[in-house]
Subunit: 203 residues, 2 copies
């Protein structure tokens, strides 16, 4: 371990960045609930009230981390989309940038997307993941019957798309009351069978 400059006095901005880095690490490692402010402070080489001075609360610290991750992702995506030749190409580049971001900055990404942050290390998290897993398998099996040419990997991707779409659509669905369950299901099915255009008749 490097002995050089352990316990240095730092200007606020620099200390804040360090704290967010350490926090992100610990949140991703143990989960938000299990992360202790004392531990974060200690790893920063500073005492707890400093974190409260700068971020106000544990939740405030998490929010700051999420904001930073969001900004970084947005920047990546923006840069990726520059020079796109069409809207479709822009979407493609945006998607690729997103997946690459998820891969290379797993911790940042986990704070934005995964329940891990909130529930990591809990039985509840495992339970919910098991439900999704089960659903993915059911869907993949169903698609396999429909599409014998697809590889297992492709089937997996399709199933993940369906499960993700369902989940998010259900969240939107309960927040409004214009669209009925039947209509929502119909829309989703149309996209799945015919793509977003969906206008092409005859399946």
């Amino acid at each position: 371990m490097t002995v050089t400059e352990r316990k240095r006095r730092m200007p606020r901005a620099e200390r804040e960045r360090q704290m967010m880095g350490v926090a992100e690490e610990i949140f991703a490692e143990r989960g938000y609930a299990a992360a202790s402010m004392d531990e974060i402070a200690e790893r920063c080489g500073v005492s707890k009230p400093m974190i409260y001075e700068y971020f106000g609360s544990k939740d405030g610290l998490l929010v700051a981390c999420i904001r930073a991750a969001r900004a970084e992702l947005a920047e990546n995506a923006t840069r990726a989309v520059i020079g796109a030749t069409s809207a479709e190409d822009a979407l493609r580049r945006g998607l690729v940038a997103f997946f690459q971001f998820a891969e290379s900055r797993r911790r940042s990404w986990a704070m934005m997307v995964r329940n891990e942050v909130a529930l990591a290390g809990t039985g509840a998290m495992d339970e919910i993941e098991a439900i999704r897993r089960e659903q993915v398998e059911i869907d993949a099996a169903m698609f396999a019957a429909f599409l014998p040419d697809k590889s297992p990997t492709e089937l997996e991707i399709l199933a993940q798309i369906v499960v993700g779409a369902c989940e998010r659509l259900s969240i939107w669905y309960v927040s409004q009351d214009e669209v009925t369950a039947v209509e929502a299901a119909e829309q989703l099915l149309t996209v799945l069978w015919r793509g977003v255009g969906g206008a092409v008749e005859g399946r």
Copy 2:
């Protein structure tokens, strides 16, 4: 308020059901973190150690609630699918059942799907929802340019589908290393433009 039979001795199974009902209510109301075991116990008319006797821990109680919700949803879906005339019809009926469940049993559904359970009432939750909202709006605007005939509601649905699919696909993506970011993006695009079949050439 009903005075009849307040504070009754109950057999274990009945008390467990009551506890899960109360817990579900409070988890959905205040969020998992902000829910206190003492409050749950009090609303049940018993003392805290009883809950620990039956469920072991706060997490255990949440898991039990999730399991119950899962079982109920599974039963609904199974019943809905009976009598389906084709696989497509089965999928349609399953989706409708899912959306209806989400609507009629919001609290149960929230425990399975929403981060609400873990992060409800926190700034972090708002932050993440804001990111999703932003992304949905960007996507909806993009689709609007492509598909001028679609209603705002239909565009919203499309955007929700895309965001949900992205999120889940990214989670799957980082858990494997067979498929590259470009391939994952390509697969998602294919589904979006042409549907799960995707074989039909010429967009």
